[in-house]
Symmetry: C2
Subunit: 218 residues, 2 copies
């Protein structure tokens, strides 16, 4: 699902409390209502929204009680900085993903040992938890570095009222070469203004024209 829909759903405290609860064990409406002290009517409404979004599902037990549980694995990341408001939501990658082919990143985990007894699974669990914390810290470090570089870059380009737009355009081109219109869409600025910025950056030797638009100069 897209980040916007997910943020709308998670923007409600009681929906967050329901998800926190269901992450511990499947529950039925009365349980949730009593546990969270929220009216059954409101609980049902929240559950419906979460179910429609595919985040939760329900199954009915032998006593015809309808238990709800989280059915979806997903991850949302939001970066806020003077240069960026970025939201990204994604599903987890399965283990088939080759984690050895990254260019800037290498993981040193033994978690592939695949022991299936409780103890090695628990050890694997702890290892993955720690790796997850390190990855978070690394991402925060990268975000700090990015802002730092963009600060230096806008100084370098002499801060004009366009300096942020400079940075935005560079960020877009940093991902891959793009045409003016694509950049203009991506940065929400009129094509004319983007063309002008690109021309200035080309003079600086920062970017150059390529067949399909513009690219950063190596």
């Amino acid at each position: 699902m897209d980040s916007a829909a997910l943020l709308d759903l998670l923007g409600n405290e009681n929906r967050r409390r329901i998800l926190r609860l269901l992450a511990h064990k499947p529950c039925y409406v009365t349980e949730i209502s009593e546990y969270l002290d929220v009216s059954p009517k409101a609980v049902i409404d929240h559950l419906r929204k979460l179910e429609e979004a595919g985040i939760i599902e329900s199954r009915t037990d032998s006593q015809r009680r309808k238990y709800f549980h989280i059915s979806r694995n997903l991850r949302l990341e939001v970066n806020v900085s003077p240069y960026e408001f970025g939201t990204k939501s994604a599903y987890p990658r399965n283990r088939a993903l080759d984690v050895t082919t990254w260019r800037y990143l290498s993981l040193d985990i033994h978690a592939s040992r695949d022991g299936d007894d409780s103890q090695s699974l628990a050890a694997e669990l702890r290892e993955l938890e720690r790796l997850e914390n390190e990855l978070s810290m690394a991402q925060r470090w990268v975000q700090g570095r990015l802002t730092d570089v963009l600060d230096r870059l806008t100084d370098e380009l002499e801060a004009t009222e366009n300096s942020r737009l400079y940075a935005d355009v560079l960020l877009e081109l940093a991902e891959r070469p793009r045409g003016t219109d694509a950049i203009s869409d991506a940065v929400d600025a009129p094509p004319g203004m983007v063309e002008q910025v690109l021309a200035e950056m080309a003079e600086e030797g920062l970017v150059s024209r390529v067949e399909d638009g513009w690219t950063l100069v190596e």
Copy 2:
């Protein structure tokens, strides 16, 4: 700021649109209102909330126009899985952070080259952007692996209606040894139930008592 407050703020489409706009360039109310086709009154209300949260700030220019810009660097992560509803918000780490001391993770970037001309800054920018993408992918992979391990673990422990609670308790202990009450708070389950689960897991040789509570067995 805490994740809940941040999610409440970001749960509004127009506030997200305002942040996206301000990430490109500082704007004043009329600009925002026209650009987003939202009434000035509503824009002012959103800006106030964002300003109170310390996410944006304003400065007044020579023509006494009040420009708003994003003043805060922050990052929000949300993980949703059958075993977890986790939200984490944090500020970026500055470059002083030693990125070489991680146990499971190593970064291979030359971005420390510190060239200060536009071109090397742009190259550094691109490198950091790519690293950021790899880190996201790695985290999605880890989340997938975690769920996979927890699935296997709950099979191993014979799925009972408590199996999710087993997993929750293990996840808590995976971070560090904890006392029963701390675990009970963390997993939102009654201490008595947690004690029982811990006792069962101790029999399995999964956890053991330590001075300050319980720990995972290596």
